[in-house]
Symmetry: C2
DNA sequence: CGACTCTTTGAATTTTGTCAAACTGAGTGG
DNA sequence: CCACTCAGTTTGACAAAATTCAAAGAGTCG
């Protein structure tokens, strides 16, 4: 499986994975007015506090949602891969409670809220699929909460690596035992809630333990089975259902 | 404002707070077949891995969602107050990725999924309100992620206290500067991701700093302004919009 | 009264953070 | 082509935060 190349294609594939779409729904999505844009790396797409009138579909690249605390520290609450709809919640929540930014250069599609709303009214299946997509996001948040709350730095990082590799694999963005994951250690620090220095040491630990290696923006899984066990990784929370399991 | 006493009343109030309901929707909800049950404390309602055919509306009491990790540790990912619908996600996600349990004795209402699904099809406003409720849950997860990832134990606990007090106040379950919050220190530990011993020390710290006091199952806010500042508490993520702000 | 869970306290240990500095590699402009 | 900058990575030494272990109180309930 390869990533879809058009914005509509990416959206259709994602929603079809959530709830089987009929031909009418598919056709409606095909003709959806989507404005496409190519954005550079580290570009903030939506700011905390914004009141967007459109939502985003990520076509290619790596993006993230994050919150800035009053003291200036940052928590990355989600990574977004091609096919993701990182801010559909803004369809019902007026004010953004988090920011959305690219990490690598990204291609994104913009869909206006009123268009989406009308689509949801006309096609309940599409509404259900979009809703379900946000519910899977919620499930991932819960898993991340367990990860931050219960695991020590090495297992926590290993867990993120497992998730990333699996999600990349699902969309055909992983080749063999590796995939792109162009993060700086600082960004990893913001996602895992550990200091940059400790990220560096933990990375080396995973590397020398022969589990995984993240360097030069590429994640290499050195031993999937052992990494999985080490991270106590269980895929239930991704709600893959029909998909391939690992 | 007081907590609703009937299950339908609780549901209507909650959904009306999400999207203004019309009289037809309200009437439909009034006659919804809801099975009510009174449960004891520390009773698990739904287990991780279950495939429920109905969802729950919490009428009274305190409940929580949690995940058990393979090593036996537990992470509480959410607390539920009267009016909450703690497992609506099971409407679209087949397998529960977390467990749901009472903390104090609770009255809950059960609504069958097929009934809910039909309701959503007939009344898009109800569907939107339910969807929005799950989106607010998602927003709270994001805030908790920042809390676990970025704050040290004292501010982290203070943040939870702020949220709890505010949510209790919103549903009329707080009197003056205090509210019931019948948690053991062990449960607090599972929610905040810190050890029981450290919970105890942190509780005493907040108490002697004159910020807040949790003991005997009751949360007393000693100095709301200072507590708020200490916790860096910002209510945006609750998406109160029309409601009173603090 | 025991049996029990929950809370509190002390001391030793581990984990993680902070500070400071050196090192690396990819631009950039002279 | 060479300094120069700059962001990112790596290292060491130290400090702080949090965990673990162990044991003693406190409260509740049969």
């Amino acid at each position: 499986m390869r990533s879809a190349t058009t914005a509509a294609g990416a959206l259709i594939r994602r929603l079809d994975g959530m709830a089987a779409l009929g031909n009418t729904e598919r056709a409606a999505l095909e003709t959806l007015p989507i404005e496409v844009a190519d954005l550079g790396d580290h570009h903030t797409i939506v700011h905390e506090g914004d009141q967007p009138t459109r939502s985003i579909i990520l076509v290619s690249g790596l993006a993230c949602s994050f919150k800035i605390l009053p003291d200036g520290s940052r928590q990355i609450v989600a990574f977004h891969h091609p096919g993701d709809t990182p801010d559909v919640q803004s369809l019902h929540l007026k004010v953004m409670d988090n920011s959305l930014a690219t990490i690598s250069p990204c291609r994104v599609g913009y869909v206006r809220h009123d268009v989406l709303r009308e689509l949801c009214l006309r096609y309940p299946t599409v509404a259900a699929a979009l809703w379900k997509a946000t519910l899977v996001d919620g499930s991932i948040y819960r898993e991340w909460l367990s990860n931050l709350g219960q695991r020590k730095a090495p297992a926590r990082m290993a867990h993120l690596f497992c998730e990333t590799f699996l999600r990349k694999k699902m969309i055909g963005d992983a080749s063999g035992e590796s995939c792109d994951f162009p993060l700086t250690q600082g960004e990893l620090s913001d996602a895992l809630g550990i200091s940059v220095v400790h990220v560096n040491r933990t990375l080396m630990q995973l590397r020398s333990a022969g589990l995984a290696d993240l360097s030069g923006g590429r994640l290499v899984i050195l031993d999937w089975q052992r990494l999985r066990v080490f991270a106590q990784y269980d895929t239930t929370y991704l709600h893959l259902e029909g998909s391939i399991s690992f």
